[in-house]
Symmetry: C2
Subunit: 114 residues, 2 copies
């Protein structure tokens, strides 16, 4: 049981699009990932809500209703079953929380590592 | 579905020790609370892990192994079944995540509001 500094953890990851697990919480996995200039395909998580917290930078979450800007220091929760995709331009650093087993190459922007 | 700015949300709460719900994630509740100069009694959450994220300030998490300092920008997860208590001196602002129904007057430092 020890504290994790989100920004230091993100800064310590030297690759983009690699999800580093930083904790587990009631069946959910917390991971930190750095992303730049990437738009994922639209997808749905049938079984898990998904939380994006912006440690640094910012992005737009696109749903069927349009684009939602999410800035540094903000989080947004995508309810399960909601069609969505993240649109990331400038380098941004995220804490992600979702049920274990939710992320994979098809919906995470690649390079998902255990 | 809209973004929540953690610091703005904490700053908008004008009372101490009041947990304001800011989201739900896979059966967990996210809440923001401001705390100053308060040490809770030791307690155990039998059914839920508990996450403390420090938005502003800092605190010490006390367990049977001693005191763990947790600073601004850091989170710590207390696994379920772990005897613990938060020790807060200076005004601090927290995002808390735990299973719905976990927090109550006996373990949250009072004033838990729906």
């Amino acid at each position: 049981m020890k504290p994790v500094n989100l920004l230091k953890k993100a800064d310590s990851i030297d690759k983009l699009y690699v999800y580093e697990k930083v904790g587990r919480l009631n069946g959910n996995v917390l991971s930190v990932v750095n992303v730049e200039n990437r738009t994922l395909d639209f997808h749905v998580h049938e079984n898990s809500d998904e939380m994006f917290y912006v440690i640094e930078g910012g992005f737009e979450l696109e749903t069927d209703e349009g684009l939602i800007p999410v800035a540094k220091g903000e989080f947004i929760i995508v309810p399960k079953g909601t069609r969505h995709r993240p649109v990331v331009k400038a380098l941004s650093k995220f804490l992600m929380i979702e049920l274990d087993g939710t992320l994979n190459k098809e919906n995470s922007g690649e390079l998902y590592e255990e």
